[in-house]
Structure formats: structure tokens, C-alpha cells
């Protein structure tokens, strides 16, 4: 009997199609806003224009850019050099100063370990800050184990580095200062221009991790006197797996390569450059340059909208980091008396993160928030919102609404919130330990 019904079904092919289609149409709707698959964190989403530039090099032009003997290689080399120029133009550098790497993590490792090790005969001190990205801090730990002295400077309450403290910390044997341009967790902009002046006057190299800043705020390596700068492609809507390191030629910065081999990239980074990825980075840089003003206006508008909505509806919301000196696309808020992880779970259809992507797996409060002196409980209750080129008003409104509802719900369940409402100072309570 089931064979008969099957035959009947198959003979009326149209109805089978429509029956099969209905779950599919529902699925495809999920990519639309109605499906609540809204994602505010647009990290890692490539721009269609970038993909368009890369595609020919994935399909048609597959030569090794370092091969000089055949036309395929020449095509790839030309594309790679165009990309190098696009990266250089965005930051006001010379194309010869751009080294392609696998991303900002590699660039940071290369710059910090490379410079410190090259000058170790004369200089053995490196300065960085406590709010740097994990890969900078970890590279410094490795150097420490090799016998270098590292100073991890604290930052002020607003997240900004104290310039006088920096100046006082530079010693005659300091080889490198590494300070990030825009913080990945709280969006703070460090005064890199002023830091650059201090470093230049003291004869110390300045490295900056600008992965979050390049293409989003105007940067000029010559005006800011930056000697080394890390760049990441996927933070500017380019492909994952590629980045660059800017290395100044005049005055020349020398570094010991991490990777040895065929001597590509002026011997600083051996290994074949992946042409399609480099082309993608170049295209992303050129688009970022062209769209910077437009993107900036839009991101600031959406960020204001989100913060306004949340702050006007919920009491006791604290913005972490300086409210003015920041990149608006990265907002870090603490909702007092709400546990950040619980709020994240409740908002799981909206892609956000409490702390950075690398650290969100642990339940420890973010070290960046601790470094800016946030109370332990506020550090626990923080959520990071990312706004980018592809974020829409509807997504912001949906996120805000959902967030407001969930914070209210979680606070209603919280005994701490109840005590706060009754006017009990929570800091005065002595908790018994079990």
C-alpha cells in the first residue's frame, strides 16, 4: 500500500516539490531578520566586494607569486604587489614596508619577539600595557622566560594610558613599547600620536596592535611616528587567515624573523604568500579607505541608538571605558546585579560576547575590565556589543529590546537586586565562606 501512495505522490511531482519546499523556504527565511537569526557582532563577515576581488585568484590565476619563470607566477605577483600598495595607502606607508602575515596574532608575535631578540645584545627591556590583547601579553611572557625585563603598565580608570607614567617607565635599555591603538574589549583609543612622540624622542621603537583600528579610524604611520603596526584582514571585512605587519624603513627597524626558509617578504616572513588572501586584504583596505567616513557615521549612529535605548530603559547600566576617547563600534556595558553569562545565555540568538572571543569560553571576568579597575561583580556582569558595516537598525532595536527584557527578568530573580532596591549597601555585607 505504501508503494501505491508513493507512486501517487511521485506522479504528482508538483505537490511533492511544494511539500519539500516548505521547510526549505522556512530555512531560507532564517537568514532574514524575521528568523531571529539577527547577529549584531559582524565579526568575520567578508564584504561581497572583497570576495569579488578574490575570486579570480582562487579560480583562474593560481600561480605561485614567487615563481619568476612562468606567466601564472607573474600575474599573481602583480596582484600581490597591488594588494601591498592598497594596504600601504590606507596607513600612509610605503609598499615596501608591508609584510604579509597570517593575521594580527602572527604580526604581534613577530614584532615583539623579533625586535626584542634582535636588539638583545644592548637592550633587554620591553614596555606594554595590562589591557593588551592576549597574544601581545603572551609574547611578552615568552620574552620574560628568555630573560628580558617586561613592564606591564597599568591604565587609568577610563582605560587610557597615562603618558607621564609611560615616559617615566622608559629606561636606557628599553628597546620597544607596545600599545594597542583600539582595545578589542572596551573600544578605548589610546593616544598613539603622543606615545609615538615620546618614543621617538627617547629613541625607543613603538609597536601598535591596530587590528581593531585600521580602516575604521584614520591612521598615518608617519604622523603618528609608528615603527611597527599589526593589521588583520577579517576585522575590516576581509578574509580570515591573512594580515600584515608594517615595519618602518627609515629610521630602519630590524627584527629577527620567527619563521625561516625561502626568504620571502624581505626574509622577515618566509613562506609562500597566499595570493587570494593577500588580494582580499588589499581590497578590504581599499574599500575601508573609501568607506571610512560613511561607515563611521553609520556605526556611531547605531551605537548611540543602542546605548540610548538601553540606558533610558534600564537603571544601573555602566559603560566601561572612556565615553569619548573610543571607537564606537565596540561597546562594553555592565548591567549591575545581572550575571553576564546568564544574560548571554538568554540572548543567545543575538551574537554578542562577554569579553573577547578568545576569552569568552572561561567564566573568569575579563582581565581588561579588571585592569581598568572595574569591581569584580561589575566585571562579571559585562557584555560587549559589536556594531559594524552590515548591522541594521532592526538588529540594534531587537537586541536592545531583548536585552532590556532579559535584564529585567534576571534582576527580578536576583536577591542582590532586591537588597539594592531596599537600600542595603552590598559592599558592607560580610559573606560567609563555605
Amino acid at each position: 500500500r505504501w508503494k501505491q501512495s508513493l507512486v501517487k505522490m511521485l506522479s504528482s511531482g508538483r505537490s511533492v516539490c511544494s511539500r519539500l519546499l516548505s521547510p526549505l523556504t522556512r530555512l531560507s527565511l532564517r537568514s532574514g531578520y524575521d528568523g531571529r537569526a539577527a547577529s549584531t557582532m559582524q565579526k568575520g563577515r567578508a564584504d561581497p566586494r572583497v570576495l569579488d576581488a578574490m575570486l579570480p585568484y582562487q579560480v583562474n590565476y593560481y600561480g605561485n607569486p614567487h615563481s619568476r619563470t612562468h606567466a601564472y607566477g607573474w600575474e599573481s605577483e602583480k596582484a600581490m604587489e597591488t594588494a601591498r600598495k592598497q594596504v600601504a595607502d590606507l596607513i600612509g606607508a610605503d609598499p615596501r614596508e608591508i609584510i604579509f602575515t597570517s593575521g594580527a596574532t602572527e604580526s604581534n608575535n613577530m614584532a615583539i619577539k623579533g625586535v626584542a631578540r634582535f636588539y638583545k645584545g644592548k637592550k633587554s627591556h620591553v614596555i606594554t600595557t595590562q589591557t593588551e590583547h592576549k597574544c601581545v601579553l603572551d609574547s611578552c611572557r615568552v620574552l620574560e622566560a628568555e630573560g628580558f625585563n617586561i613592564t606591564y603598565l597599568p591604565v587609568q580608570k577610563n582605560g587610557v594610558l597615562d603618558l607621564e607614567l609611560l615616559e617615566a617607565s622608559i629606561r636606557p635599555d628599553t628597546s620597544l613599547v607596545s600599545v594597542m591603538t583600539v582595545n578589542n574589549e572596551i573600544g578605548i583609543k589610546q593616544p598613539i600620536k603622543e606615545i609615538g612622540q615620546i618614543c621617538r624622542s627617547k629613541g625607543v621603537f613603538l609597536h601598535t596592535d591596530a587590528a581593531q583600528a585600521v580602516g575604521k579610524i584614520p591612521i598615518s604611520v608617519s604622523d603618528w611616528k609608528i615603527d611597527l603596526m599589526s593589521i588583520s584582514a577579517h576585522k575590516i571585512y576581509g578574509p580570515k587567515g591573512v594580515g600584515a605587519l608594517y615595519v618602518r624603513r627609515r629610521p630602519r627597524v630590524r627584527l629577527e624573523p620567527l619563521q625561516n626558509g625561502g626568504g620571502q617578504e624581505r626574509g622577515l616572513r618566509s613562506g609562500t604568500v597566499p595570493t587570494p588572501l593577500a588580494v582580499g586584504l588589499g581590497a578590504a583596505c581599499s574599500i575601508a579607505q573609501q568607506e571610512m567616513e560613511y561607515d563611521h557615521q553609520r556605526v556611531s549612529m547605531l551605537a548611540d541608538r543602542l546605548v540610548q535605548k538601553l540606558m533610558s530603559e534600564i537603571p544601573e547600566v555602566i559603560m566601561n571605558g572612556d565615553p569619548e576617547q573610543r571607537y564606537h563600534g565596540c561597546i562594553n556595558l555592565s548591567f549591575a546585579y545581572v550575571e553576564g553569562e546568564s544574560l548571554l545565555m538568554a540572548l543567545k540568538d543575538v551574537a554578542l560576547s562577554s569579553g573577547s572571543a578568545c576569552t569568552s569560553a572561561s567564566l573568569e571576568p575579563s582581565y581588561v575590565l579588571r585592569a581598568i579597575g572595574a569591581d569584580e561583580d561589575l566585571a562579571h556582569s559585562s557584555i560587549r556589543f559589536g556594531i559594524g558595516r552590515f548591522t541594521t537598525e532592526e538588529e540594534v532595536d531587537y537586541t536592545a529590546e531583548k536585552c532590556i527584557g532579559q535584564v529585567r527578568r534576571l534582576r527580578e530573580m536576583s536577591p542582590l537586586w532586591e537588597m539594592f532596591q531596599e537600600g542595603i549597601d552590598l559592599k558592607s555585607i560580610k559573606w560567609t565562606q563555605h
Partner: protein, 106 residues
């Protein structure tokens, strides 16, 4: 602006909006539509024929990018899934019924 070039601008604008609305990804679609609209608005007062021609050329190039990207993002997500899904499920059915073979060509 001459009437003929005005018609050309409007035609390009309409085509770009129409093609942008074909992106299957919600975020790409809304961005493309918004960006096209804002770009045409920002340049609506331009009278200089040379600038106009340059902008039209840029627009035509962007239109080509949009068309290529709409096609291949479609091919790589829904269309492919759709084909595989239909094919796979019908083949299974066809194996039992002995009549489904022809449907796989779909």
C-alpha cells in the same frame, strides 16, 4: 543635467536597487540597498558632465559586482542545498517506488 543622461542615471539607480534586493543574506541585502540609495542621494546635485560620467562608470562596475555576488552567493547556499536536498530525498523515495529515477535530473 541633460534629459538623456538623467534618464540613464535613473535607470542605473533602479537596476542597482533591484539587483541589490536579490542578495539572499539579510545583512548584505540591506547594506547594498542602503549604500546604493545613499550614494545616489549624496551625488544628486552633481552637474559636471565629466564627474557624472566617472560616477556612472563606477556605478556600472559596482552593478557588475552586485550581480556576480548575488549569483554566486545564491549558488553556494540555497540553490545548491535545494538541489541536493531534492535530489537526495527523491532518490531515496525512487529506490523504493522504482519510478523516481527521472526526478534526480532536476
Amino acid at each position: 543635467m541633460a534629459a538623456s543622461s538623467r534618464a540613464q542615471v535613473i535607470s542605473l539607480y533602479r537596476t542597482m536597487l533591484r539587483e541589490s534586493s536579490k542578495f539572499s543574506s539579510y545583512n548584505y541585502r540591506t547594506y547594498a540597498v542602503r549604500r546604493v540609495r545613499d550614494a545616489f542621494r549624496a551625488n544628486s546635485n552633481i552637474e559636471d558632465p565629466r564627474t557624472l560620467e566617472r560616477l556612472m562608470e563606477e556605478g556600472r562596475n559596482t552593478l557588475a559586482v552586485i550581480q556576480r555576488q548575488v549569483t554566486h552567493t545564491h549558488t553556494h547556499t540555497h540553490y545548491l542545498n535545494f538541489k541536493f536536498f531534492l535530489c537526495a530525498s527523491l532518490c531515496v523515495c525512487g529506490g523504493g517506488g522504482g519510478q523516481g529515477g527521472g526526478m534526480c535530473a532536476f
